[in-house]
Structure formats: C-alpha cells, structure tokens
Assembly symmetry: C2
Homo-oligomer: 277 residues x 2
Amino acid sequence: MTRTELIQQIKQKKSFLCVGLDTDINRIPQHLLAEEDPIYAFNKAIIEATEDLCVAYKPNIAFYESYGVKGWNSLQKTWEVLPKNCLSIADAKRGDIGNTSKMYANAFFDQSISGMSFDSITIAPYMGKDSVTPFLDFEGKWAIVLALTSNEGSLDFQNFTNSNGKQLFEEVIDKVNSWGSKDNLMYVVGATRGEGFIKIREHAPDHFLLVPGVGAQGGSLQDVCQYGMNKDCGLLVNSTRGIIYASNGTDFAEKAREEAIKLQQEMEIELERAAII
Amino acid sequence: MTRTELIQQIKQKKSFLCVGLDTDINRIPQHLLAEEDPIYAFNKAIIEATEDLCVAYKPNIAFYESYGVKGWNSLQKTWEVLPKNCLSIADAKRGDIGNTSKMYANAFFDQSISGMSFDSITIAPYMGKDSVTPFLDFEGKWAIVLALTSNEGSLDFQNFTNSNGKQLFEEVIDKVNSWGSKDNLMYVVGATRGEGFIKIREHAPDHFLLVPGVGAQGGSLQDVCQYGMNKDCGLLVNSTRGIIYASNGTDFAEKAREEAIKLQQEMEIELERAAII
C-alpha cells in the first residue's frame, strides 16, 4: 500500500485507527475454543466487525509464534483474511545482519516464498543500516522502525544522550531517514508522553508514526494529535486490548465494533480540527 | 543447560565451537532437494557429522521463518534432533514490551506451549528491561543479548557515545548485567575487532560471549582468544558458512566434519595455552 493510498483510506474512513491482533488463547471467549482454530476464528470475527472503521491491522507475531507451527498456521490464515484496503503490519520487531534481514523480509513480504505478504513490518534498529535496508528493497512495502517506545524499559537505552544533548532515538530517526524516505519508512512512537512528539516531529516532520499506548497503556489521543499530527495526518494510532477484549462473551465482535466506533468518532473530530477532512 | 554443564562440555570436547545452522535451500547440495524436507535432512546430517566437535548449535530463525509454516516445521524437526549435550541457541534477535517478550519466551523456551525448548535465545536490547527479563524467568535458560555485533552497520548506533565517553554497547552490558547474572546472561560480541574484547571484558569479565564473525567474516580466532578468553573459557565461537557449506556435493557432511575438526584443533591449542584443559 502506497502513502497516497493510505492517506486516501484515512480520509475516506475518517479514521487513523490500527487494530492490534495480539490474540491470546487465554483471553478469547470460551465458546470459540470449540472451533478448529480458535485464534483464527476470533481474528476473522474481529476483522469483519471493524474493517470499515480502521485503516490498519497489526498482528503481533509473538502471539502466533508462541504456538510454534500451529501458531504460524493461524497467522497465515489470518493474513489471508486481512482486507486489502487496510495496511497490514507484521509487528515482529525483527532486525539482523544483512543476509538475515533479507530472510526476514522474505518471510513477511514475499508471498512466493513464505505464503504471506504484509504491507509493512516493525524493525528494531540496534544492528544498524544493513539490518534495515533489506526491507526497503521491496516496492510498495514499509519498514516501521522503533524510535521511542511506550513500555516501562523504553528509556533504559532510547534516551542515552551524546555530548551534544542528542538522544539515541533522535540519532536513530536521523540516520534511518537517510536510508529511505517518507514513502517507505515509518517510526514507532509511544503515546504515553504526548509532548514527546514535538521532538519526534523536529526529526521526522513528514513520516507516518505508528503509535501504541493509547487507552490501556494510558496515552491520550488528544495529546498525540495535538503534538504529533501533520498535514497528511501522519499517525496510525493502535488500540488492542480496548477493542479486541471489550467483551469475552458471545457478543465480543459487537462490543469490539462499539469500541472501534468510539475511537473512530474521536479521530474524526481530530481530523476535522486539523482540516484534513 | 547450566553454566557448569557448559564448561564441562568445553573441557571434555576440547572445543568452544558453535555451529550455525543458517540453512539456505539455495545453497544446500542438489541431491537433498529430493528429500521430503531438504532443510531438515541437511541439518540432521550436519549435526551427526559434528556433534562430538562442538558445544553449541545455533539455528538462525530467519532462515526457517522465511518459508512460513513449512519453515517452522523444519525448525521444529531440527530442534528435535539437537543433541542434549550441546547448548541450543535460537538465534532470533527478539525483544518487545514485557507481555510480548513473554510470548517470545514461550515460543522458544516452553515446549508445552510451542513444541520447542531451546536452551537460549538471542535478544535485541533496544526496548530495555521489560524486553529482556521475561527470558530470564526460565530456570536453566539463557538470554544472549546483542552488545557489539560484527556486521557492516554495527557502529551506526552501538558506538553512540555519551558525554563521559561511554558507548551504547557498554551501557547495554552494564544495565543488562544488573537484570541477571553470569548464569543466565551472555552477550553477542563480533570477532572482527579482536582488541574490542578488551573493553567488553572490562564490563563483563565473567560472562560467556557468543562470537560470530570468525572465518568468512574475517575475524581471527587467535585474537578473539587473546583478548576475550577468561578463566572458564567464556567464549562460544560460531562458524557457519565455513563448516556447513564446505562442499555442496554428496560429501557435504564429511567436508563439514573436516572443517569442524580444524577449528576444534585450533581451539584445543587455545584452551591448553590458557591452562583451561
């Protein structure tokens, strides 16, 4: 999916919502356990209930990988039902030396090899340039590189500061920017510190940002938009638990839709406020 | 596998060799393509030809993942034939927020969930403490954290330096040290700059180091030992291409064994020089 297509989807759906598919067999409704593949059945129902309200889906690969071969089978089937008008994000946090990153790129981008072709993948930048660039060699695909995350340990290394007062996450954005463009690079920026987006936007004014941490993790959508939105929106705000686990009864898909509608409506207000729609 | 058991294996086999299983369908001998699972057939033959000469095997997960469900099946079967007296390393470079790292730990450490239980996994540290500690909660398992790698892009971020002259890889080792111990933590340190080990050993004198980059990538075993060996050996030196692709004919396993013998003999000299055996 190109940048232009993504922006079109945002304007059309009046939404920049990404739904996280961190599907945990221990948290899905009991009645689904009778299905042949409960994780896939859950995902399919969630997707059908939300696809007109969001512009991206983000399966968290760890949740599938934890079940080994069986889990990869659920991931494969889930990939097959992801709507083509939504950006598909393999949330995999991969990154290795060049020849190995190339293999990870094949895994998530080359259907003829792996059976799957996501639009994008999340990348950990610690190993530098050759760990990122193999993902940028695929036309129409995106590398979404970790910059400033929202988790407890995010500041252990990400705010390591050089003698000019520059923090590691700033160095990451500046260097990674030079390896690609706003058409094939995004950054992961956590929502838990809205004002943190000011500094991010100094380094990446035009790039899309994938933003976890709104809702369950405590980030405010309004703060994220105030400090992080750009003229093309430039944000994909992820929600996982608040949507997919809104209910663990037989009404789980309906309740997920209700929560997605609430977020879409808040997002519509922000897009109007910024005169994007 | 405990630290004591690993040291025993090193002394007994007079070797600290790790064989990398970066098995690429395009590089294995043609005659194996007739097998039902050529990657597994290749790995099994390499393991049988080398298991008395090495103390660790390191499947590079990307090479399996690139084939999707089928590749994970080859990985599962390969794990089943890894000898119990060798440290098994899932070279996966994983790392995510706490609840997700827990899922990755289940994938590689908990056989009851994923079907596999490696002794160790490689970890990317960018996301900090909660991305590493879930792997340390498993008794007898190891987290092998990236410190200073040997690839082209390694210095893009790993030598980012604070106002006290401390580099990021040093900060990583110091902080990660405080989350575990020499009994459940190792570090990845590339072999391409032998003298680089002096600084590593200032921060991690007692930990085992997993060392890629000897041979094909240009590192010298003698330099690594001179600067990196400690009283318990403290090194696992990986070789991949030099061993597993020593021949692409029907004699591939035999030639792999010959190359492994050469390395084992060089290692025996180093272990004797350091009075470890």
